[in-house]
Subunit: 496 residues, 2 copies
């Protein structure tokens, strides 16, 4: 095969292999590397990233892509070519000088943020952050020129191809209309339902064994992946060798347990991407939001269901000994407790969207030039009050300084979290329609209907379809946030 | 600096960084990777090796090296240029087709050997091995044409630059004259000195803690390296981040303990290579033999000395509880027990050279075309009888099939083991001359004289000098095997 398409697939296969090396040494840096290895590793990783960048911007690619488009390709090859073109456009839309400046400014801002956040130092943060915003706007402007999208849409398209701010605004605007009321009603209901708190300590060795047992139960393939520990848990590695990490807290087993279940959702998506497409852009996971729909299908839809909690109870007793908190009804109340709080990553399923909506509204306005960086705290305070009824004035550490995302310019990422939650609710609504006994089977420890559906409709599809088409094929309709609302109302207000 | 030399250093710095990636993913493959990661990893590593090979054979290098030689360089730069030239020559001496054929034949032979060895299947092995020998002879012939060395010398030069078979023959010939007699006399002496065997099991967790304690005592920097576990222990990683592995046997703690001490010797050499030269060929360890002189300085010279064994005794009691075998005098007898056996890697310090001499004599004759692959078993039997008085007829698994080296064509490597033992003896003879109280200080747990001398004379010198010059500067004389003989006689026959 000396066609342009064949040459492209060879080129992207080589890049896939370089990405493999980058993933593994990146995992190693976070999970294994001793501190003195850092400098040499940073240099080696930068060298590899430069190599990958040269590959993605190879001047021959434009011509090869154009030539391949004129070749007789089948549907799957055409989908791969679409993803190749997207990869190529992303890599070539920006001048290298801007990419470097953005990367440097982001690294500087993030590094300083690590000490500025604990010091509650918003003014110090602003000094670096203004430059990040300036360069991100410049990036958005250039991407916008290439794509015809609005500046914010152009940034978001990197994470959620095809998704637009107008659509998000419509969806989030609707959520805004019922969410504060729902939170209030749930709070009222739960006040009458006391929860017995588990009593620690929960030894790390026992938590580790529990994590492995639950991951096995959830179908994680330990012959094709590992579970290790790191300061900031993540899901890394490559589809053929997925590397999860977690972090154990001896006073609270629920963080590592639910975190591991969440990462296992990401992991099973990766482990079940079709092997035949591995090595090509076609074979990669669809988007950040679809990825998050898998982790939240596991953590929220499956693991916090009554049936699953019933299976967890004896496992907890087995690993930690018995205690009153491990009664299944109590555990269910514990895992579904709702409480407005300052911190996004500690938020429950019901209040989480409020954190995302707030960030989306602020970052969109910031990138579109409607506000400036110094306007953020006042907007933050106002929106936290409106959405969650919390006073955050002067508390930057637990307010607008809490996330790493903005420090290095990942504007357009936040919506993916709530899109993921909505997709997950839509998957399970579909699943209950096509498999009415699915909850009964879950309660019996039979997850075949769940995994079978996810595999057929999401995992095995990789990047075969653009997101709206994937969603329609899987659930018979476009993204419909009514499923998310119905799920929250059923679980938190209904008899579920 | 737009000089040719400066451009060369940039080029080799990039290769150093690629090698860093290769080392870390190689360590991961052996110590961490789950089985299903193997195929994708092999492809990614092959892609990286191809990249490194393209870098080492870049057509511009010949001209740059020639131009740099005419530039005004200082002594250190000139040493670096010498090492660059050596690296370049090694990479460019062989046509790519031969390198690939050798690598494929070696991989095939090694893979089959893994099951042929336990099956004692010499005839099956021969089928693949003949091709490895044929290609290695071709490789030796081409290298010989480039360098003017004899074929075997040309292969050995890859591992021990500057060392020649004639020199090895002189040295090993002399050892052959006294070794069998020494082994016999030691055996007689030790028959009168019974040893109490340690009684297990020795739990893995306790062995792990002991290994870490001993590594710390020996100055291993855990901020710049790790200890993990793998089926085949090795020392990997990079100078800035050294990765050791070991393997614990619950019935015998001595294997992991002494193995870890051995690897710690390799590790400290790497960890103390001068940082200013890191990234250039100049900054790499001198040779395999010099590397082995560090591991054997730790394992044989230091760790099996009476003084050090006296320090180990309380550590063993601390980690395993007390038992009669942990008496210091008994431990010393245990660690210096001599017993001729079939297996090289299980051999004691006294019989080990016999295994190496036998292999050297056979592989030299094989490469020079004096014998053929099918002649090996008869020669093996004859030499094992002469050197160690053992009958190996028909026992290929514990005879000529026991080593991995020949399976993938690493001819010329074996002499490095005994050269390392001889260098180590020469270092300690010098050390005792310049620091007459060194044994007393060791017995007190003060290793500063040992590590200070090794650092000044070996570690900090990296590849600054060619081996003979390094040896002369360190010890005041050329390699002198009399020190090795004196060491063995003092430890195994004398009152030491």
């Amino acid at each position: 095969m000396h066609t342009a398409y064949a040459e492209l697939t060879r080129h992207y296969l080589r890049l896939y292999r370089y990405d493999h090396l980058a993933s593994i040494v990146g995992w190693d840096r976070n999970a294994m590397m001793p501190p003195k290895g850092n400098e040499a590793r940073a240099a080696a990783e930068a060298e590899l990233q430069a190599l990958i960048h040269r590959g993605r911007t190879d001047p021959r690619l434009a011509e090869l892509i154009a030539a391949a488009e004129a070749e007789p390709l089948d549907d799957v090859e055409r989908a791969n070519l679409r993803e190749i073109r997207r990869n190529w456009q992303q890599a070539n839309a920006l001048p290298e000088a801007l990419v470097e400046a953005r990367s440097l400014a982001g690294a500087r801002c993030e590094h300083a943020w690590r000490s500025q956040r604990p010091a509650n130092d918003w003014q110090g943060f602003l000094e670096n952050f203004r430059e990040v915003v300036r360069l991100s706007r410049e990036e958005a402007r250039l991407l916008s020129g290439h794509t015809g999208l609005s500046p914010y849409d152009a940034l978001m398209d990197r994470f959620e191809p095809g998704m637009r701010a107008a659509e998000i605004e419509r969806i989030f605007g609707e959520v805004r209309s019922w969410l504060p009321g729902l939170i209030a009603r749930v709070g009222e209901k739960q006040r009458a339902e006391p929860v017995i708190a588990p009593v620690g300590p929960f030894p790390v060795a026992a938590q580790r064994a529990l994590s492995v047992a639950v991951m096995r139960m959830l179908g994680f393939d330990f012959d094709g992946g590992r579970l290790d520990e790191s300061a900031h848990p993540f899901s890394g590695g490559v589809p053929e060798d997925v590397r999860l990490t977690t972090r154990y807290h001896e006073d609270d087993f629920t963080r590592a347990l639910l975190g591991t279940i969440h990462e296992t959702g990401h992991a099973r998506y990766e482990q079940n991407l079709p092997r035949a497409w591995c090595g090509q852009p076609l074979g990669l996971a669809r988007s950040y939001g679809i990825h998050e729909s898998q982790s939240l299908s596991f953590e929220m839809q499956l693991a916090r269901s009554r049936g699953f909690v019933g299976l967890l109870a004896p496992l907890l007793r087995e690993h930690f000994g018995d205690q009153p908190a491990f009664d299944a009804d109590n555990l269910y109340r514990l895992f579904t407790r709702v409480k407005p709080g300052y911190i996004r990553i500690a938020a429950d399923e019901v209040t989480y969207p409020a954190h995302v909506i707030l960030r989306f509204e602020i970052e969109r306005a910031l990138i579109e030039g409607e506000i400036e960086a110094e306007d953020i705290p006042a907007l933050w305070d106002e929106k936290m009050q409106a959405l969650l009824g919390l006073d955050t004035r002067g508390n930057y550490a637990d307010g607008c300084l809490q996330d790493v995302h903005w420090t290095d310019g990942a504007f357009g990422y936040f919506p993916s979290y709530t899109l993921g939650a909505m997709y997950a609710a839509q998957w399970f609504a579909t699943l209950r329609r096509v498999q009415p006994d699915v909850d009964g089977r879950i309660a019996q420890g039979d997850f075949a209907p769940v995994f079978g559906w996810l595999n057929d409709n999401i995992w095995s599809q990789a990047s075969r379809w653009e997101t709206p088409e994937l969603v329609r094929r899987a659930s018979g309709e476009a993204l419909n946030p009514a499923h998310f609302r119905a799920h929250l109302e059923a679980r938190y207000l209904g008899g579920d």
